[in-house]
Each structure stands twice: as C-alpha cells, then as structure tokens.
C-alpha cells in the first residue's frame, strides 16, 4: 500500500463534501459545475454493473445534459416534494495517472418527504475519475452504483 498524498486526498474529499451539500441544499443549478464539460454522469444499479450490463437510469455524457436535467426538474418534472441528505465516506484513491485521479467513496442518501418520515432512499458508491487542475478537483466521470435496486417511487434529484 503506497502512501496517500494528503493534498490529493484533501482535494477529492473536499469536492465530495461540497458536491453533496450542494445537492442537499437544493442548489441544483450549481451541481453541473462540479464536472468538466466533456463529462459522464451515470446512476446505475449494482445488479447491472455486477453482471456487465450497461443500462443506467441516468446517463449524461455531456455537461449540457446535466444542465438539461436540472432545468427539467425545475420546470417540467412532477415528483414528491422531498429533502435529501447524503452521508459519504472518505474517498479511497484507486489510481493516479498524470493529472487524473481515480477514487471511490460510499454514500447513503436519506430522503424526507412531506409526511416527515426520513427513509433510507439510496445507498451505493461513487466510482469517479477526477481532473486535478490549479489546486481544484473536477469530475470527469462519476458513476453512482446503487445497491438499493428498488427505487422508491422514482429518482428525480441526482445522487
């Protein structure tokens, strides 16, 4: 096990923390800014990943598609009112290639709807590639591999 670079570790963990707070605070318009322009964001069932199947419930292969999703959520889509709360683990850096870092982290999303009950909504892990530039980490790709393959009602807000 090689030494973890504390600066890199800090950059990745800071990105994850800011990303989750951004979603949980409902600042969806800021969410695409965590990604590079030519990015890939997926939310995919673990049962698919484990069986080599590619279908994802969300598959955005450009930042424009992330923006389109947010606009759709704000203006078009109908879904139960809810708040979410992400709990994330410290990232594990799985590889470094020039200015690109691979990392994984576990997440749990708790959801609270209008009835006031908080439920475990979606649990899984982020499988990421990040670009480190000018002391900042941005997501090149984020695959949210969810264990909770029984999605309650629908999945509107990004994970």
């Amino acid at each position: 096990m090689s030494m973890v670079d504390p600066v890199l570790q800090g950059l990745v963990d800071s990105l994850n923390a800011a990303y989750c707070l951004c979603l949980d605070d409902g600042r969806l318009e800021e969410w695409p800014e965590f990604f590079v322009d030519d990015c890939l964001y997926q939310v995919i069932a673990r049962e698919n990943v484990d069986n080599g199947l590619p279908a994802a419930v969300i598959y955005c292969d450009s930042k424009g598609m992330l923006v389109d999703r947010v606009v759709a959520l704000r203006q078009a889509n109908v879904f139960p009112e809810h708040f979410s709360r992400h709990l994330i683990s410290r990232a594990v850096l799985t590889g470094i290639d020039g200015d690109t870092v691979s990392a994984e982290a576990s997440y749990a999303v708790l959801q609270t709807r209008n009835d006031g009950e908080t439920r475990i909504y979606n649990v899984g892990k982020y499988v990421d590639r990040l670009l480190i530039k000018d002391g900042l980490a941005k997501l090149v790709s984020r695959m949210c591999v969810y264990d909770t393959h029984r999605i309650a009602t629908l999945l509107a807000t990004p994970i």
């Binding site: 069986n51 199947l53 279908a55 419930v57 598609m65 389109d68 078009a76 109908v78 029984r150």
Partner: protein
Amino acid sequence: MNAMAPVGAPSLPTAVDYRVYHDTQIFAAEQRNIFKGRTWCYLGLEAEIPNAGDFRATHLGETPVVLVRGQEGKIHAWVNRCAHKGATVCRSLRGNQADGAFVCVYHQWAYDSEGTLVGVPFRRGMKGVGGYEKDFDLASHSLEKLRVESYKGMVFGTFSADIESLDDFLGPVMRKYIDRVFQRPIKVLGYSRQYMAGNWKLYSENSRDSYHGGLLHLFYPTFGIYRQSQDSAGELAEQGFHNVFTFSKPKGDIDYGSFGDEANREMQGSAKLQDERLLQFRPEIEDDVGLHIQSLFPSVVLQQIQNTLATRQIVTHGVDKTELVWTYFGYADDDEETTRHRLRNLNLVGPSGLISMEDGEAVELCQQGTVGAEGKHSFIEMGGDDVRGYYAPLGMDENAVRGFWKGYLNLMGDALAVSAEASA
C-alpha cells in the same frame, strides 16, 4: 353507503369503486381469478437466459417463480416454494446452475431444472431408523410447475390447465405489434426496479391512459418540442384488456428544430435543450412509429419510445405495493455507437425518465387520495362510455382504460361482490 352493497355490481368500465385499490380480499381474489386464473402472465425474456442452466427469479402476480433454461434448451418455470415445507428454493436473482439441480438449503431436497424432485437426503433413513415410507414417490413431491409458452422471445406462464394458447390469448393485433419490436434478435442491456406505494391496477390504468400524456408529462412542452401534428392511434384486443398506443413522427423532417413550429403557443416552452442528442430518434423499424406502448394484461408493458426498448413487468407485492421491473434491451447486432445512443435515450424512460418519471407519483397520489373512499367511484368517460377496438387520435379519450376494466370485471365475475359480502 350501504356496507352490504357489493363492490362488483356498481363497478362499470366507466366508474370503478375506489375500494378495488384498497381491499385486501379483492387483492386475494385477483391473485386467484386473474394471476392464477385464465391469463398468461409475462415472466421474462428468452434473451435473459440464453444458455442451458441459466435461471432468473421472477414473479407471477405475487407468487415467486423461477424461469430456467433446461439442459435441452427448453424453458421451464416453477413456483419458488419447496415441496417439503415451503422454503424458497432459489435464493439468487439470476445465475447459472450448470448441473441443473436446485437444492433447498433447509433439508436439501433437490430438484431438476424442470422442478421435478430428484433427491431427498436420508430417504431410507439410517440403519433402519427413520426415512420415508417405501411408497414415497419423488415425482409427486415436485415444485409446482407452470405451463410456459413464449411469443417472439417474450416468455409467459400460466397456472391454468385449460386456457387457450398464448397466441390466441394475445390475439392477432397484439401479436402484430410484438412482431414489430422483436423484428430482430435482441440483447438485454440491464434492469431497473421501481417500487410504488400503490395498487397494481393504478399502474395498469396509467399505461393505458393517453389522456394524461401531454398533461402530466411536461418535459416535451417545457422544451418547446410538443409535436401536435404527429399521428396517433390506439388499438385494443377483443377482450379489451390488452391495448397498444402508437405515435408516429410528423411526415418528412424529423429535426428537433422543426418541432417548435408545430406547437401551439402554450406548448412552446422557453427552455432550450443544451444537448439535443438526448432526443435524437433514429428510425430502425420499417415504419414511422416513434412511440409504441403496449399493455398486455395483466402484467407487462412492452415499449419502444424513440430508441428505447423495454419490457415493464408489473409485480404485485400487496394491495398498495407494486414493483415495476424494467428490462431494457437493444438488438443483438447493435454496434457500440448504437448502444451508446440507446443508453442516452434511456434518460427519457424508467424511474428517472424525463418523460415518464411522473407515472410513479401519479399512482401514489391516486392511492393516497382514495383511502377510505369505499363506495365512491372514479369517472372514466373521456371520449365516450364505450369500449372501441380502435381510437384515433389519442389524448382526448380513456377508451383503453375502459377496456382494461371491461376485461378485469369479466375475469373477476362475482369475486368482487363475494369479497364485499365477506368483509361487510
């Protein structure tokens, strides 16, 4: 409201007692009369279990079922309930049982891929003690086997010994549209599972309800791409309970840019898509149909929406618990770029679908709103009070919803009335 009044009698295809979404005795009667009755229920795709020994756990109504491809290539289905004490025999969602033997972990009764009991430990006891009687017949303690037939790779099962063939149950109109989607061999791209706190019939109505399309699902109009000039039509099978909707692309140009011209002012949203690849449609079947939604009673929807292909299996877990298992697929000869396009298109459908996520919410809203509303009725008279075999254009009618109830009420017969009396 007279508590003794039967539910079935006043329920018509145009007006259904809200009790049908909440009554546990009606739910039980549906399992008997519909799912275990004279219907063929969708269980999965042949393409999910291509090789000998491949299996997949599925459901027929609320009953857990396993679909297996036997050593000789034939597909079998049996109830996942050990003949000894009822334990679940197959505990995985999918896999391959190379030796074709399914062994119950509890006392290790072993079944072959057809569900026949082939081995029991200590059958003769030990040293003359214990064991089963000499006349214990393995074959008569097998798993409960279903009749299985498939059409164009869609596998259906039934508990009924005397129901018509699957082909006849589907009928010529439904078969024609299944042929349309399964024009070429397919490959499975993956699954999603959507769990709704609502009754299965609310979802069955939803998939047959063309009225809500442009009203609940606002993605297209928001982005100024409501296509008024497209052709649409609905066709029903004779019983009423199967139906198909088709929407065809406007004649000529299919550019995203041209859609706005056809929209009326209210439908012309101000938002602009940043990435129009999301909506790209690459016609690949020899017709102009861009949307094909086919509901096959009682348990599956087959769709082609743009370039998304999927089955949506309806699993009934309880009176207010319904699981929708989406199985996404493409054609076996798709190249990598085509698959990528399909994955991008899949953003439109499924539990996160930009044009369809609302259906899950609609089901739950109706379930919540009808609590305690026994004796009150829905109103299903948009576009008439009859059930027609053909309706066009769509969107201003509830013809296919009435068709669903017509078929449902026929199959339920007195069961609704009887269950109402029993619970009164």
